[in-house]
Amino acid sequence: MQSDNKDAILEVKSLKMHFPVRKGFFNKTVGYVKAVDDVSFVVENGKTFGLVGESGCGKTTVGKTILRINTPTSGEIIYKGQHIENLSAKQMAPIRRDIQMIFQDPYSSLDPRQSLGSILKEAIVCDGKPHEREEIANTISELMVAVGLDPIMADRYPHELSGGQRQRLGIARALACNPSLIVCDEPVSALDVSIQAQVINLLRDLQEKRGLTYLFIAHDLAVVKNIADTIAVMYLGHIVELMDSSEIYEHSIHPYTQALLSAVPITDYYAEKKRNRIVLEGEVPSPINAPAGCPFQTRCKFASDKCRKAMPPLTERRDGHFVACYNV
């Protein structure tokens, strides 16, 4: 794929993350959940890379593996030119400050017993350097202003905040270490529509001001389309289509991407009447006994014998547009 990209901040090459399934008294391994199976992509500096897919497709596992919350089964993760897939916890520590994460559920990702200021302080002082009390206080109010919270609220507790405000605090906490890359795992899916738009706009503004890079994980194609520069569509541990975000609406090729697109709700009444709907049959197969060959074969109307034998490789169809399918 696009290798030796000078602008690349993060390169993932044939990443595999298999979790053993253990059973019985002796914890014998009886199989593997292939959560991520041979995934490669490049995230460019200052850009947003979007990962889309349904629950269980492995998109969150990719994010967690990049943060090295999981140690990958095999594959390479190159962050700013350095291989990080096998670093020890100690070696990983400075890099962890440079890659931050924003979580989906703003209700469970904040400690209910800490005030907002104290939550941010923890993230500020974690670099191990000495900090003046005043400096910390200034940084806290700077961060809160940056995400659109009133600095007076530093003494409040998470339960006093609304969902949108909590997510803003989650973003402030991620910014506290001055990261270059932020892994956003479904940052807006728990929020109301009007608040969702506010948070998306905030993320875009911060990217512009601070030159941040995002790995944006979500299941809502319209949200990802709005914020991402490049989009990868995942299905059962594989990337099935990877393209520039401007391509997806009119030029996406893979039958799964097409189905996802047709499931995206639109609010244009007249366009909706004309749109052809693709309702997929069945459900995502369990990743424990994923079918051999293309993972999408069980729900795909084009599935042929070839698809049942081997996983189709991700091939370039046009400039920067990769598709893994034999039939389209």
């Binding site: 349904e54 609406y249 995206v264 709700p265 639109i266 609010t267 007249y270």
Partner: protein, 336 residues
């Protein structure tokens, strides 16, 4: 209302309040709507706008205390349900057999320690007064009707053995089995994946065609409304602020909140540089509502006139298009 015989459920000036230490919280404040036979309508709003409490009040399921239905009428098939006591046999007969409810979280609405079949046939036994064996047979038929493959062995399954989409189908099967005339679906697909979401909605729509069931969807997802609903009620802070046909609400919205809500939805065909137009601020707390339009603090068109009191729903167009806004007639103020 043009043809009364066709109206299945009519809610008139419903008011539900919660009496808390902080005072009276008007969760539902003077809400009126109706649904015809074989119609799909949608109630749209953000969390905390009272859309769920409205439906709970219709079913008399609001926890009391602190909740209380303070006023209004709920007329189902010509009978005011609020005249019945919440625990009366008449009300129980309506729940399930007359009006069924499907909730957002299919895992919590099924009992984890009983088989699907037991839970399904229990409802049939109670409402249809048949014996266990017949009920079980009818349960299998109901599961087949909602497209669950291998229904016979699925009856023996426990809820945890099924996926989210399947569980939601079981709940719909319970509604179908008793021949409910109205299904109130409270965020039926929010917990489901997008492709499963489409399956469940198609199923609900097919029920309307085959059984002539009416469906009331409660949702925050305007996209579902576009595809499935015939009419829409938009709620904000316990009140209906705009109502009309789906076409009117989506394509010619009048209320600034409806407009803002539509603008907040990311569009697939928008260019990459286009920013979302968010509604500023946050939804109000229902315990601290002003004595005037509740949208005032967030409204881009707000002016002094808006503070004269609650705007009432007034007709703004043909096809029963209503809107509650002081500024609605001032086209100039609304021109972007």
């Amino acid at each position: 209302m043009e043809d009364n015989r066709n109206i299945l459920l009519e809610v008139k000036h419903l008011k539900t309040s919660f009496f808390t230490q902080a005072g009276e919280v008007k969760a539902v404040d003077d809400v009126s709507y109706y649904i015809k036979k074989g119609e799909i309508i949608a109630v749209v709003g953000e969390s905390g706008c009272g859309k769920s409490v409205t439906q709970m009040s219709v079913m008399q399921l609001v926890q009391s205390p602190p909740g209380k239905i303070v006023g209004g009428e709920v007329i189902f098939e010509g009978q005011n349900l609020l005249e019945y006591d919440r625990n009366s046999p008449e009300m129980r007969a309506v729940r399930g057999a007359g009006i069924a409810m499907i909730f957002q979280e299919p895992m919590t609405s099924l009992n984890p320690v009983f088989k699907i079949g037991t839970q399904l046939s229990e409802v049939i036994m109670i409402h249809k007064k048949v014996d266990k064996k017949t009920a079980w047979e009818e349960g299998i038929k109901a599961l087949e009707a909602v497209g669950i493959p291998d229904a016979k062995s699925r009856m023996e399954n426990y809820p945890f053995q099924m996926s989210g989409g399947m569980r939601q189908r079981v709940l719909i099967a319970i509604a179908v089995a008793c021949g409910s005339k109205l299904i109130i679906a409270d965020e039926p697909t929010t917990a489901l994946d997008v492709t499963t979401q489409a399956q469940v909605m198609e199923l609900l729509q097919s029920l309307v065609k085959t059984y002539g069931t009416s469906i009331l969807m409660v949702t925050h997802n305007l996209g579902l409304v576009t595809r499935y609903a015939e009419r829409v009620y938009v709620m904000y802070a316990g009140k209906v602020i705009e109502s009309g046909t789906t076409e009117d609400i989506l394509m010619h919205p009048v209320h600034p909140y409806t407009k803002g809500l539509l603008n907040s939805v990311p569009k697939l065909d928008a260019s990459d540089e286009e920013r979302l137009v968010a509604i500023k601020g946050q939804p109000p707390r229902l315990s601290e509502l002003p004595s005037y339009c509740a949208f005032y603090p967030r409204c881009p068109y707000a002016c002094e006139e808006c503070k004269q009191g609650y705007p009432i729903l007034e007709e703004v167009g043909p096809n029963e298009h209503f809107c509650a806004c002081w500024m609605k007639n001032k086209e100039v103020a609304h021109a972007e």
